[in-house]
């Protein structure tokens, strides 16, 4: 069961993973019997600062979903992301800059 120079037995690993998944599912079934699944209204109101929150309003905002990662890559989101402004001329400028960069890179690599 060797694949490339590393060791990776895909079939063995798959069987192990399937077994793990079955085991996890059994544990989940067992736990369902003990604990309640649905968040109760009391719990929801705790997170909503005491206010009544409807079920469909409890979705996370998808742009801010990974705010810690955004914080880690702050320079990227501050300088590169605003570049995707939707302006066609900016994009064309990128193409020209990229062309120049490619030319310099090719000249350096193949010198």
């Amino acid at each position: 069961m060797e694949f490339g120079p590393g060791f990776w037995g895909p079939i063995v690993a798959t069987i192990v993973m399937l077994l793990g998944a079955v085991f996890a599912y059994l544990m989940l079934l067992g736990s369902r019997r003990i604990a309640k699944v649905r968040p109760s209204i009391a719990k929801r109101s705790t997170y909503g600062c005491g206010e009544e929150v409807k079920p469909e309003e409890v979705t996370a905002d998808s742009e801010q979903f990974y705010s810690p990662i955004r914080r880690v890559f702050k320079p990227f989101y501050r300088y590169i992301q605003p570049g995707h402004s939707g302006k066609l001329n900016t994009y064309l400028l990128w193409v020209v800059i990229g062309f120049v960069v490619l030319m310099v890179a090719i000249a350096l690599v193949l010198r």
Partner: protein
């Protein structure tokens, strides 16, 4: 083997695209529009069968050369098919067959469908043309047909977003095509020929060491032009717009088809046409930049199709990284990832299309809790998401693992680490998508949403099964791509087969 199979693989979809409007006029008169749709599916499947028919001959190590009009190659146009072409042709025609089956149901509610199917067949014909041709100018012409039909397909629904996306795609793409044309004219001025094998032979006589300065310009022009098509990072801006605005079936075909073709042309230029494998270092750097930017941009998207488009940009980075390592294992891993990328990217876009078909939106903030309504789609999307982020029993893991091993063997541990981090980010943004679409609370208005129809489920299911099969039996995938690797490193064999020992 049918001797004319290579040209038929281009001509049959081309002829189909000319016949579709005529057939559609007839079928509209007799109110039997299904016949037209089935005709299109039949044409695409015939193309796939022709490619499969050529497969054994090419895999046994031969290079099929088909001379148009019985003209010998340096003067006439020829089609030359080696292991690399056939892999790409297989991916393109296979995905096109699944997409055409998928479109039967997905595009049912649109008007002007005869134009859609015409453009779809034209796109297929031109992709096959780019893939199979052995003549550089012919390649440019088919490439332009591909681009024009792609622009038209993006604008197909004529909403504000599709028009805007198509305009951006078109202006950037036309600039790229002009650069390619300029590159071709410089190539012609350098060697006086436009047959790929002939150029390769003449360039190897000129020698790349020291490099003629005009060759740097040529390479930069051609690379820029084709990188626009595969959306490498400074040139990627059109891609999210176009994929968001295009119908999902078309986006699936773009992600799996035109991107694959673009990567193929890049590989052909670097390895066969100019024989400058040393450019690998540049590909590694550009590939990692592409990878990181794509993944980081995907993290903050609100629209599912836009997120998938950025994810596609990031995956192209992996392919370039693998190929750039330059070792046998790296190139095989890159090509294997090319195959896998086509499979799961098409799967994910089709899932997005199924959601859009039933719910009418792809905005992640509006969706939620759909796993109860669409369990099959949810499962298939999860398989695709796990495969793309390289989670073990799926195919993405196999190819990414190969690329990691190749990177460590090539002594590029930094880039390997970067690839692993990006893989984690990939899982992160796709989990966000799964969470937003299928889990969580379900809004009241989605209570009556039904599962996607069977004609849409079937192609998705097929791709998901491929994901699992190639993941559990990775040596099968390596077997599929190893003829392509052999072809890529066999420049002299290509020249000899096409020019016949001149």
């Amino acid at each position: 083997m049918i001797e004319a199979a290579p040209i038929l693989a281009i001509i049959i979809p081309l002829m189909g695209s000319f016949l579709t409007p005529l057939i559609s006029i007839l079928t509209k008169r007799y109110k039997k529009e299904r016949i037209r749709d089935l005709f299109v599916v039949a044409i695409v499947i015939v193309t796939l069968l022709l490619v499969l028919h050529m497969l054994p001959t090419v895999w046994s190590g031969n290079i099929i050369v088909y001379r148009l009009g019985n003209w010998t190659p340096p003067w006439g146009i020829c089609l030359a098919i080696d292991g690399l072409n056939i892999l790409v042709a297989l991916i393109v025609s296979g995905i096109a067959a699944l997409v055409s089956i998928y479109s039967l149901m997905y595009m049912k509610n649109d008007t002007g469908l005869e134009k859609y199917y015409t453009l779809l067949l034209l796109l297929l014909a031109s992709m096959m043309g780019v893939t199979l041709t052995g003549d550089f100018f012919n390649l440019f012409v088919f490439f332009e047909i591909m681009s024009v039909s792609a622009y038209a397909l993006v604008a197909f629904r004529r909403n504000w977003d599709s028009i805007e996306a198509s305009i951006k795609y078109m202006v950037i793409g036309s600039l790229g095509a002009s650069l390619v044309l300029l590159g071709i004219s410089f190539t012609y001025s350098l060697v006086g020929s436009l047959n790929i094998a002939d150029i390769a032979q003449k360039i190897s006589i000129i020698g790349t060491n020291p490099l003629p300065p005009v060759l740097i310009l040529i390479l930069a022009l051609l690379m820029t032009g084709f990188c626009i098509k595969i959306a490498m990072v400074p040139f990627h801006a059109w891609m999210p717009d176009a994929y968001q605005a295009a119908p999902s079936a078309v986006a699936a075909l773009f992600a799996a088809g035109t991107t694959t073709v673009g990567v193929y042309v890049m590989l052909r230029i670097i390895y066969i046409l100019f024989g400058v494998a040393a450019l690998g270092v540049m590909l590694i750097v550009l590939g990692s930049v592409t990878m990181v930017v794509g993944a980081l941009m995907a993290l903050v998207q609100r629209d599912l199709k836009r997120l998938l488009a950025y994810s596609g940009i990031s995956q192209v980075g992996y392919i370039l990284l693998g190929v750039g390592f330059g070792t046998a294992l790296g190139i095989e891993g890159g090509l294997f990832h090319l195959l896998n990328n086509a499979i799961y990217k098409a799967l994910l876009f089709m899932c997005a299309g199924a959601i859009f078909y039933r719910v009418g939106t792809c905005n992640l903030d509006e969706l939620g809790g759909l796993s109860k309504n669409m369990p099959i789609t949810a499962g298939l999307f999860t398989i695709g998401a796990l495969a793309i982020s390289g989670v073990p029993p799926f195919n993405g893991f196999a190819s990414k693992w190969t690329i990691y091993i190749a990177g460590i063997q090539a002594g590029k541990a930094f880039f390997t680490l970067l690839a692993i981090i990006v893989s984690v980010l990939t899982l992160a943004y796709l989990l966000k998508a799964i969470n937003a679409i299928f889990l969580g609370q379900r809004p009241k208005r989605f209570e009556n949403v039904k599962e996607a129809p069977m004609t849409m489920i079937f192609p998705m299911m097929f791709l998901a099964v491929l994901c699992i099969v190639l993941g559990v039996l990775p040596s099968l995938g390596i077997d599929i791509v190893s003829p392509a690797y052999n072809a890529l490193t066999n420049q002299h064999g290509y020249i000899r087969a096409v020019l016949g020992g001149i």
